[in-house]
């Protein structure tokens, strides 16, 4: 079991990184020199950019007219604690937090199911390939994997779009639910959601799976050289036991860490996929924020996504400690 001391250490670790992200989010708009937008908004100039009412409120709440950076930082933290990330220019009068709260679940849904499905498919594929190391299927699939894992996510999405939504129109081109429809039941609604999610999630799965599969394959090949694998063979165990309980069980540990590290990339991919499929998550919102120069919203999205990924990393860390008996003791 996880010891309290260990849990505390991981929590502290997470808090430190989260605090770093929060501070980075504060400094980002302020450290880029000579940007006219920044000068306007954060230099206390007020005016051309964004809704003047909003700018005035932001200036007041976040102490932007006070030249003292420390004071601004203090105000930023205070407002953050109160759940205030400012007001969106574009969605005025909605606050940044309320916009994000509406959109976040869609992103979590896409990124979460994409990661889990890709891992569930990729890891067994990796085990399959490692067990047949050096054979033709292995070389072919591994090379294809290297090819696919280098292709940008959105390109895979575009190709899927052409095939399944334009050439043969079996899946919708865009959105998370059908527009202007009333649902007869919750299940009808959920069905519609899943139907719309097929292409975006498939895009993520296709893009992510090769990475997990190759990682699993390579780790398992390393593990297969360990003495305890030879012992397992000497014991006369059936191949499937050696493969799963000895080789894969040990190889999955480093792969779990890799899944954690890759979460940031997954979220980045999900953002692009959302934009492509006009999916109403944070990615699509981020894109419109860029288009309309909605800086408070951009910053807010960055912060929330970062905090989510940091938390998800913590979860992966905890899962790791549960499956590796060697960690929980320290």
């Amino acid at each position: 079991m996880i010891s309290k001391r260990y849990l505390l250490r991981r929590l502290t670790n997470m808090a430190v990184i989260a605090y770093g992200a929060i501070t980075l989010n504060f400094f980002l708009p302020r450290i880029i020199p000579g940007n006219p937008v920044m000068a306007n908004l954060f230099g206390g100039g007020g005016g051309q950019i964004g809704n003047p009412v909003v700018v005035r409120r932001l200036t007041q709440e976040f102490g932007l007219n006070n030249p003292n950076l420390l004071y601004q930082y203090y105000r930023y933290l205070v407002e953050l604690v109160h759940g205030n990330l400012g007001i969106s220019f574009y969605y005025y009068p909605q606050s940044v937090v309320s916009v994000i709260v509406q959109r976040l679940p869609w992103t979590l849904f896409l990124a979460g199911s994409g990661t889990i499905l890709a891992a569930l498919l990729g890891i067994p594929l990796g085990i399959f390939l490692a067990w047949r190391k050096g054979t033709l299927p292995d070389s072919l699939i591994s090379s294809a994997g290297m090819l696919i894992s280098s292709i940008p996510y959105f390109w895979i999405g575009i190709v899927l779009l052409i095939f399944f939504a334009v050439d043969i129109t079996i899946f919708p081109v865009a959105h998370a639910v059908s527009q202007g429809v009333t649902y007869s039941s919750v299940f009808a609604y959920l069905g519609d959601v899943l139907y719309h999610a097929v292409l975006p999630i498939s895009t993520l799965v296709i893009a992510l799976m090769p990475g997990y599969a190759l990682q699993m394959r390579n780790t398992m090949i390393t593990v297969m050289h360990e003495d305890y694998i030879l012992t397992a063979f000497a014991k006369g165990l059936p191949n499937h036991v050696i493969k799963n309980r000895y080789a894969a069980r040990n190889a999955i540990l480093p792969v779990t860490t890799h899944v954690g590290i890759a979460l940031g990339y997954v979220v980045g991919g999900a953002l692009m996929v959302e934009y492509l499929f006009a999916y109403p998550g944070l990615g699509y919102t981020l894109f419109s924020a860029i288009q309309s120069e909605d800086y408070p919203l951009m910053q807010g999205i960055f912060l929330i996504i970062s905090l989510c990924v940091i938390f998800a990393n913590f979860i992966v860390d905890m899962i790791y400690t549960l499956i590796d008996p060697r960690v929980s003791l320290t």
């Binding site: 770093g20 290297m146 292709i151 575009i158 860029i290």
Partner: protein
């Protein structure tokens, strides 16, 4: 019996051959390395020769809009009737340039940070690595997007921000290498032979991690090309520059998917994939060869 003839006085050329070429010879036995290198060389050649082999100026309207591939336009035309093949070839150079410079700049940062942290240790190491951990966990893409939105949309900005965000992994790798290599017997022996700290660092430790640094630079190249394409896709960076990313951007903006203009969409994406595969093979070839050499 293999008898080596030894010249008492070595020429500088043979010295170079010994130090630089000889360690590379085993690589030529790796099929992966050769295949990967060929793919990469192909794209590099395409990038270098670009202007000489394109049939049209990429911006010239040389045919009817949306024409599918033909003898005249081997990759068809785009919505303005521009030759997609010319875009593709000219774009290769820009994409490679971004990849190359980002790999160069970010590995310089990564190596310096890694060496400092690994060698000084203690508090310096703690502070630097905590910062690196943070950068590794924070999702890079939204951060890239925000930085690009703040900076002027030029290729230089893109290279700059990609370099600023890509180094943390390299610094991790370099640091752990320093920590491992520091404990190697030959490092101790070098110190015993009277070598100073800097000499040990740059003559004994650094050259021995060259393969790993090079492998990670290769990954940085792939990462940068993909990231640049992603930014371009969001309309960030210089969308008027001609490269694989902006090809996909304009294809998206002009709804090439709806037009089923696959000839416009497939080449840049596949090119990134194939180049990525080539670079991966190159890296794997180097990794396997150095591992074999270590194991004797």
């Amino acid at each position: 019996m293999n008898i080596q003839t030894v010249s008492k006085q070595q020429s500088p050329v043979s010295f170079l051959a010994r130090r630089l070429i000889r360690p590379l010879v085993p690589l030529t036995h790796s099929r992966k390395f050769i295949l990967g290198a060929s793919i990469v060389m192909f794209f590099v050649a395409l990038g270098l020769l670009g202007r000489l082999i394109v049939p049209f100026g990429p911006l010239a309207q040389s045919g009817a809009p949306w024409s599918p591939p033909s003898a005249r336009h081997i990759l068809g035309t785009n919505y303005l009737g521009q030759d997609v093949f010319s875009w593709f070839v000219i774009g290769t150079a820009t994409s490679l340039k971004v990849g190359f410079f980002v790999a160069l700049f970010s590995s310089s940062i990564g190596i310096s940070v890694g060496l400092t942290a690994g060698y000084l240790g203690k508090y310096t190491d703690d502070v630097l690595m905590r910062f690196v951990d943070m950068l590794l966990v924070i999702p890079a893409f939204p951060l890239l997007v925000i930085l690009s939105a703040y900076l002027p949309p030029t290729n230089t900005s893109t290279i700059l921000i990609l370099s600023l965000l890509s180094w943390p992994f390299m610094s991790r790798v370099v640091r752990s290498q320093v920590l491992t290599l520091k404990e190697r017997g030959y490092v101790a022996v070098s110190k015993l032979s009277g070598a100073g700290n800097l000499s040990v660092m740059f003559k004994d430790i650094f050259p021995n991690m060259a393969p790993i640094i090079f492998i990670n630079m290769i990954f940085l190249v792939i990462g940068a090309i993909i990231a640049q394409a992603g930014l371009a896709f969001f309309g960030l960076g210089n969308v008027n520059s001609i490269n694989w990313g902006t090809m996909l951007y304009w294809a998206q903006v002009e709804d090439a998917a709806v037009q089923s203009a696959w000839w416009w969409i497939l080449p840049p994406g596949l090119a990134i994939g194939v180049l990525g595969m080539g670079l991966n093979m190159l890296a794997n070839g180097i990794a396997e060869t150095t591992l074999e050499m270590r194991m004797g």
